[in-house]
């Protein structure tokens, strides 16, 4: 998202205004299904099996009509693997013809040559292909055997179909931060845009986070790399790194949860952001009377998130203006208080705080659609 501002009263920053919330979200993530053919070890939504209570096609169409009435300019569609839904193309068509743009994330498994041609012919559809390594070994350790080949085959099909600049979306991990230049080269080879986002300890990521999250020196590398490349997309997810230098990374530099961001899950439950699929952050359901608009505008949870938040233990830190205390979801799922440092606080306060988290203090997940087979980070040595 590229953002600019025009006008504005003196003394009041845009961030101040956005913290009080908007009439409709800027960035709405909509997970269409919990079904997925992959079983990534860091899946935020613990996806795998379809939920029997998934929104029907009629409900999905009705929800798109609500988005259009609220002037939600675009939705970020994900899952699970959203293309698994049999009505996937129908709902994309309905959204784009209603003035609701679609950006969707996929593992690429459903993009063959004819699928790519169909997508290339669509107006206002952006595609993000997810990979988590610049080579098969690094990627497949997180996303499963063969998933790198599947993703790159989809990229080949999109390129052959003349789709134009799709996005390559990567979650930054300890294992792939050394590959930043390789990701850039891969994107350049396809004429694609690179999108890097932060690993969150949510969903199955709560179990793999300790093995995957970047180390402090890598956070510095990542910050410096991004500062030199303001065109690389980040979904504003690295504002906790802003305390590493004088310059802020491009973006709004705030936690948008319930203020400018929210998530709708496959059964229509509305959460404060894509990284907090947990009952504590559930604001309501699009199936409630009043639909999505009522949840967004009047739910108790979202109203409270739009109140001034306490900096808590971070209030005395000189870096608070830069990092804003970091990510609510990262704190919550690692058992840290929400008004304290982020677990990956660049001044090191997070490590100290994590050391003080007692066993069993981490919240139990309230959702899990994982397939019965165990999901584990592959640690076998590379050739």
């Amino acid at each position: 998202m590229t953002t600019r501002t025009a006008g504005g009263p003196k003394g009041e920053t845009l961030t101040d205004e956005l913290k009080r919330g908007l009439d409709a979200p800027i960035c709405l993530t909509w997970e269409l299904t919990y079904a997925c053919n992959l079983a990534c070890v860091h899946c935020l939504s613990s996806s795998g099996r379809r939920d029997p209570n998934e929104l029907s096609t009629a409900e999905v169409f009705g929800l798109i009509d609500q988005f259009a009435a609220m002037q939600v300019f675009y939705v970020n569609i994900g899952g699970g693997e959203p293309m698994i839904r049999p009505d996937f193309y129908d709902l994309i068509d309905h959204a784009t013809s209603s003035g609701v743009g679609v950006k969707f994330s996929t593992n690429g498994s459903r993009i063959d040559a004819s699928g790519a041609r169909r997508l290339a012919a669509m107006d206002y559809t952006d595609i993000q292909i997810s990979i988590d390594g610049a080579d098969a070994a690094t990627n497949d350790a997180v996303r499963g055997e063969g998933s790198f080949a599947t993703a790159t085959a989809a990229m080949d099909h999109l390129a052959e179909a003349g789709f134009g600049p799709f996005k390559i979306s990567v979650v930054m991990t300890r294992q792939n931060i050394p590959q930043l230049d390789a990701f850039e080269a891969l994107a350049n080879r396809y004429g694609a845009e690179l999108r890097l986002t932060r690993l969150r300890p949510a969903g199955r990521g709560a179990d793999s986070w300790h093995e995957l999250h970047p180390q402090p020196a890598q956070q510095v590398d990542l910050y410096n790399w991004l500062i030199e490349r303001p065109h690389v997309l980040t979904g504003d997810s690295f504002f906790h790194l802003n305390a590493l230098g004088d310059q802020n990374l491009p973006g709004l530099n705030l936690c948008g949860a319930g203020r400018v961001v929210c998530l709708i899950d496959p059964v229509g439950d509305v959460y404060a952001c894509p990284f907090v699929l947990h009952d504590e952050f559930k604001a309501g359901s699009v199936r409630d009377p009043g639909g999505f608009a009522a949840v967004w505008r009047t739910s108790d949870l979202f109203r409270s998130l739009r109140e001034p938040q306490s900096a808590g233990a971070c209030a005395s830190c000189g870096q608070f203006d830069a990092c804003q205390g970091g990510c609510m979801a990262a704190k919550f799922f690692t058992g840290l208080p929400l008004d304290g440092p982020d677990p990956e606080c660049v001044t090191g306060h997070g490590e100290a705080a994590l050391a003080g988290v007692s066993a069993g203090a981490r919240p139990e997940p309230t959702l899990n659609h994982s397939k019965p087979s165990p999901v584990a980070f592959i640690t076998k040595p590379r050739r």
């Binding site: 953002t3 002037q71 300019f73 675009y74 743009g101």
Partner: protein, 112 residues
Amino acid sequence: MACAVSTEPPGAAQSHPARRPQTSPVLAERLRLHPRVALRPEPFGALAYHYGNRRLNFLRSPDLVRLVDDLGNHPTVEAALVACDIDPSRWPSFTRALASLAASDFLETVEP
């Protein structure tokens, strides 16, 4: 939300040149909202979204929103400022905002 026709007599703005501290070349241009831009009212003004270049823009003043929405109905930016009853002391900040919106294609020039 088109601006009401100014209740001031024609030429009123020009009759107080001292209140206009500086002039911008934007004043003489004929601009309008790009047809692929949508405005969504918000408490601070409006969010503008360009379906073509996928950019988002924050219009942080209700008066600026009124003006942007009404630009296409006037032969020049200056005429639109007058019609929207924007005090000439605020024109410099408005012309700066319009120039920035034009630079990111949110506004387009209407050919004579």
